[in-house]
C-alpha cells in the first residue's frame, strides 16, 4: 500500500463526513454522503478488501444514496443544522 494515496483518501473521507453532517440542505447531504461512501470504498480497495469495497460501492454509494434521495423527495430538503 502506498501511504500517500491512503492519506489523501483518508483526508477526503473525513472532509466528506464533516461536510455531509454540516451542510444545510438534505439533498446536498445525500450527494456528500454518496461521495463519502465512494471514498470509503476506494480506501478499502487500496487496503485489499476487494469484496467489501465492491459491496460498499454497490450498496453505500449506489442503493443507499437512491433510498436517501427517495426519502428526501418524500419529505423535505429543509434542515436547521
Amino acid at each position: 500500500m502506498h501511504w500517500p494515496i491512503d492519506l489523501i483518501v483518508l483526508t477526503f473521507v473525513i472532509f466528506c463526513a464533516i461536510a455531509a453532517i454540516s451542510v444545510k440542505d438534505l439533498l446536498g447531504t445525500a450527494i456528500l454522503f454518496g461521495a463519502y461512501s465512494f471514498m470509503m470504498c476506494l480506501l478499502w480497495a487500496i487496503m485489499g478488501a476487494v469484496d467489501v469495497a465492491f459491496t460498499e460501492a454497490s450498496v453505500g454509494a449506489g442503493v443507499s444514496t437512491v433510498f436517501f434521495v427517495a426519502a428526501v423527495f418524500r419529505t423535505s430538503r429543509r434542515t436547521k443544522d
Partner: protein, 274 residues
C-alpha cells in the same frame, strides 16, 4: 444536547485512543489476528472447498451460519418497510393525459376510474414529459446491468462478488427502470406479490439447502453431504452448495432492494415516484 453530545463523544474518543496504545504494528503479519485463525482459512480453503475466493468460501461455508442470518436481516428489512409504509387505500385525486392532444385531466374526489388505454394514460402529479435520450440509454443499459449482476452472482466463487453484491446490482437495475421511466412501469412489470414471494423464496433457498443436509446425515449447513444429490465431481460439492446459497441470497436481496425503494419513494401507494 450539543454539550452532552460533545462530552460523550470526547469520553468515547479518549477510551478508544487509550485502547489504541498497545495495538500491534500496522500491517504486522505476526499480529494475533493474522496468525491464529486466518492462516487456517488461507491454507486450507482451496483444498477443502475448491473455491479460490477465500472470502466467499469463509462467508458461505465456514461461517455460513452468519450469512444465513444476514440474509434474514435483509428479508426482515424489506418486510418492515412494507409493514410500515404500505398503504392500500386508493388515492382519490388522479391525473390523466390525453395522448394525442397532450391535454391533462385532473380528477378530484371521484370514485370513477377512467379507462386507461390508447387514448388516455395515467400520469404523476408533477408530470415531466419523459426524456427520449434518458429513456433510450436506460433501455439499452438495463439488460447489460442485469447480465453483469448475474455474472457477479455466478462468478462469486472465483472473483470478488457474490450473491449479495449481485442482488444489489440487479435490484438497482430495477430501480433505474423506475427512475428513467416511471414507477408504474416497474410495478406493472414486476408485481408486488412477485417481489414479496421472491424475497421469501430467496431466504428459503438458503435455509432449505442448509436443512436438507440434516436428513442426509450431516450437521446443519454441511454441504459435503449433498454429494449424492448433485452431478459432477464429488470434490466440487461444497462449491456447488455455495453457488446455490448465493443464488438464494441474490434473489432475496434483489427483491428487497426493489421493495424498499418502491415503498419509500411512493409512500407505500405504489403509484408515483421520483
Amino acid at each position: 444536547m450539543k454539550f452532552l453530545g460533545f462530552i460523550v463523544v470526547c469520553l468515547t474518543g479518549a477510551l478508544l485512543l487509550y485502547g489504541t496504545g498497545q495495538f500491534p504494528a500496522w500491517g504486522d503479519p505476526g499480529s494475533p489476528a493474522s496468525t491464529h485463525l486466518s492462516n487456517y482459512y488461507i491454507e486450507k480453503t482451496v483444498e477443502q472447498t475448491q473455491v479460490p475466493n477465500i472470502v466467499t468460501a469463509v462467508l458461505a461455508d465456514y461461517r455460513g451460519f452468519d450469512t444465513m442470518f444476514e440474509t434474514s436481516v435483509i428479508f426482515c428489512a424489506g418486510l418492515t418497510c412494507f409493514l410500515l409504509l404500505r398503504d392500500f387505500t386508493e388515492k382519490k385525486e388522479r391525473f390523466y393525459r390525453h395522448r394525442p392532444t397532450g391535454v391533462i385531466l385532473h380528477v378530484k374526489d371521484s370514485e370513477k376510474v377512467l379507462k386507461v388505454g390508447k387514448e388516455f394514460e395515467h400520469i404523476d402529479k408533477d408530470f415531466v414529459p419523459s426524456d427520449l435520450i434518458i429513456k433510450t440509454v436506460c433501455r439499452i443499459l438495463i439488460p447489460f446491468i442485469q447480465i453483469y449482476a448475474l455474472y457477479v452472482v455466478a462468478h462469486g466463487d472465483f472473483s470478488p462478488g457474490g450473491g449479495f453484491q449481485g442482488g444489489v446490482i440487479f435490484g438497482s437495475s430495477l430501480i433505474l427502470l423506475a427512475i428513467s421511466y416511471d414507477l408504474k412501469t416497474l410495478v406493472e412489470r414486476i408485481k408486488e406479490k412477485v417481489l414479496g414471494i421472491f424475497a421469501a423464496v430467496g431466504v428459503l433457498i438458503y435455509v432449505g439447502i442448509a436443512t436438507i443436509c440434516m436428513p442426509m446425515g450431516g450437521n446443519f449447513l454441511n454441504y459435503g453431504m449433498l454429494a449424492p444429490l448433485l452431478p459432477g465431481d464429488p470434490r466440487h460439492v461444497r462449491a456447488l452448495g455455495m453457488l446455490g446459497v448465493e443464488i438464494g441470497v441474490g434473489l432475496a436481496v434483489m427483491a428487497v432492494m426493489a421493495i424498499i425503494y418502491i415503498n419509500i419513494v411512493s409512500e407505500g401507494r405504489h403509484d408515483e415516484g421520483l
